[in-house]
């Protein structure tokens, strides 16, 4: 499904060129869920942005490939890549309020996402949007469609984001710390929701998180990253019971007993 090989990205900054990720290699097999874990600044986000071609203007992929359904996304023309994003690959971002446009109605945003890939009539779109919102357990979808992002609660807004990401039935879903910005009480609901959506549609999932508990519960495989490099990959069961790398051991040791009790404390004393 998605095979990332030797992916390397750089950022231009005031202090010169910085290598943000170096020789990142992992695979997301069809129908499986893969978690990328690591602390802040380990290159998790840069990895998925490199795959999706969403690096900021001062960032650049300088080596490696990201093969998705047989095409290398890194070498793909940006217009072809655009056609894949949102259609074949759905993206769920960290902060739902940050993700939704504050001044356009939710319906308008559904319409734009729809029309970016497919022509469809207004009424058909509306029916589809309502159906999708219902499938992510949004109550009163008609009212939500008419309204704006600021009228929603955090959990509701993230459901809308998920519905938008699933609109075109993507075969791969990439979620970038989808619950960090949410209340602890709704975090689990959202993860369960993503899990069901992925399983029902027979999709693959690439889940970025700093929470090993989440990986243990929802993923088949895990990729452990540290300072821009992959230090360990493998099946969750293997890696968690028999970590081969010191860093993974430290991470595991830091996991609190109850997965939902709190976030993983930082290893280096940085904020997680």
């Amino acid at each position: 499904m998605l095979r990332v090989t030797g992916l390397t990205s750089q950022f231009r900054g005031r202090a010169g060129v910085v290598r943000a990720i170096d020789d990142v290699t992992f695979e997301v097999p069809a129908g499986e869920a893969v978690g990328i874990v690591g602390e802040t600044g380990s290159g998790k986000s840069v990895t998925i942005r490199s795959v999706l071609g969403l690096l900021p203007s001062y960032g650049k992929v300088v080596g490696g490939s990201a093969e998705f359904e047989g095409t290398d996304l890194v070498k793909l023309h940006r217009n072809r890549l655009r056609e894949i994003r949102g259609a074949r690959i759905g993206f769920v971002a960290q902060n739902p309020f940050g993700s939704l446009n504050p001044v356009l109605s939710i319906e308008k945003q559904f319409r734009n996402v729809m029309r970016a890939h497919r022509k469809i009539s207004r009424t058909d779109l509306r029916d589809l949007a309502i159906e999708r919102l219902e499938s992510v357990q949004v109550r009163g979808p008609e009212r939500v469609l008419r309204g704006f992002a600021h009228e929603l609660s955090g959990g509701m807004a993230q459901r809308v984001v998920i519905a938008l990401a699933m609109l075109h039935d993507p075969s791969l879903v990439i979620a970038d710390e989808p619950t960090t910005a949410l209340d602890v009480t709704v975090q689990r609901q959202i993860l369960d929701l993503i899990d069901t959506q992925v399983k029902q549609g027979g999709r693959s999932l690439l889940l970025v998180t700093h929470d090993l508990g989440v990986v243990a519960q929802y993923c088949h495989r895990v990729v452990v990253m540290k300072s821009g490099k992959v230090v360990e990959t493998g099946l969750v069961a293997d890696v968690f019971t028999n970590p081969s790398h010191d860093y993974t051991r430290q991470l595991l040791a830091a996991v609190p007993p109850a997965p939902w009790a709190q976030a993983v404390p930082s290893l280096s004393g940085q904020e997680v």
Binding site: L54, S57, R82, F91, G98, S99, N101, V103
Partner: protein, 352 residues
């Protein structure tokens, strides 16, 4: 009912019609502002040092002239009486008569205000369109070649005084190239005075008087551009800033991740930042009106600003008062309009 319940009801009331409440609140401020405005223009006269009548008329004024001006100013009556009669007249739309032309101020305003409104309107449209384009291009190509070019243009435009740009325009486009007509007003001399037709451009457009429209537009081109170019730089700076921020938000990233076309993505950022630029009109409007006054003088545009400047230089007090009140009214109207536009464009405002 407990206070908590009452508060809840109040909140519900507020939720029900936030827009209407907002508008009403906004409109309610207008009379207060008007009161302050009128009072300010009344008390301006007290700034004149010494004997106002002599300052106005010069040292060689006759006793009759002085008495006339004093009664015009109402200086022969007690302060409160003058203040009340000033308001009584103002509320009836009577702004007095000019000392020098003896024309009623309202009549003069009717002649000059439409010219200013047209100039400022077109200059604003021009400035906003150009400024936003420059700003959006710069923000989209942040830190790259086009950005540097656009910010270069912005800083050049920001360093030119509008009246100087007007003169350069006259030299290049009238004297050297002959593309623009002579800077003698709104119409060529052969077409007579434009005083009889307020809102010359709109009027010609709606009555289908194409010849006159052509003349009016060609005479308006330089004034509008010299004013608009300078103010475009301010809008460019604001648009560059707010678009620059908007384009790096997660919101835009998510839009891209959904596969939206680049132009839709830019539109998303634009939609999120446009209210900043619109609000900025309010901040700039005062200085734009002032700049218009000077540009009007350069092009003999016969607008309110030129009229007021002439009046000011001759210490024609009723003209000054008339201008203060009118400029204030214009500003208030514009602010109200802008607030309503922002309310319409940004659904978040009504909830604040």
């Amino acid at each position: 009912m407990t206070t908590a319940e009452a508060a809840q009801v109040a909140v519900k009331e507020k939720r029900r019609r936030p827009v209407l409440r907002y508008v009403l609140k906004r409109v309610a401020i207008v009379p207060i502002s008007l009161f302050i405005l009128g009072s300010v223009s009344f008390f301006l006269v007290f700034l004149i040092p010494g004997d106002p009548a002599i300052t106005i008329l010069g040292d060689f004024a006759t006793k009759e002239q002085i008495a006339h001006v004093n009664s015009q100013l109402g200086l022969d009556k007690p302060l409160m009486e003058r203040y009340f009669s000033f308001w009584a007249n103002l509320l009836q739309g009577d702004l007095g008569t000019s000392f020098f032309t003896n024309e009623p101020i309202l009549h003069e305003l009717g002649k000059f205000l439409p010219n200013t409104i047209e100039l400022v309107f077109f200059a604003l449209i021009f400035a906003i369109t150009l400024g936003m384009t420059i700003g959006v291009i710069g923000a989209y190509f942040a830190r790259r070649m086009p950005d540097r070019l656009m910010s270069g243009i912005t800083s050049v435009l920001q360093s030119v005084p509008d009246f100087f740009l007007a003169l350069v325009g006259i030299y290049v486009f009238f004297f050297l190239l002959g593309w623009a007509p002579a800077p003698i007003g709104r119409l060529p001399i052969t077409s007579g005075s434009a005083d009889g037709t307020p809102f010359l451009i709109f009027n010609s457009l709606f009555t289908g008087n194409w010849d006159r429209l052509g003349e009016a537009v060609s005479h308006a081109a330089l004034p509008v551009m010299s004013l608009g170019l300078v103010y475009a730089s301010y809008f460019a700076k604001t648009a560059r800033g707010s678009m620059g921020t908007a384009l790096t938000t997660p919101q835009v990233e998510f839009a891209r991740a959904c596969g939206l076309r680049e132009r839709t993505v830019v539109y998303y950022a634009f939609a999120a930042s446009r209210t900043t630029v619109i609000t900025y009109i309010a901040i700039l409007f005062g200085s734009l009106l002032g700049g218009a006054a000077i540009v009007e003088r350069v092009f003999n545009w016969r607008g309110m600003g030129q009229w007021a400047l002439d009046g000011v230089l001759k210490v024609d007090v009723p003209i000054i008062q008339g201008f203060v009140v009118t400029a204030g009214l214009l500003t208030l109207t514009l602010f109200l309009l802008l607030d309503l536009v922002v309310l319409f464009l940004d659904p978040r405002v009504s909830y604040e």
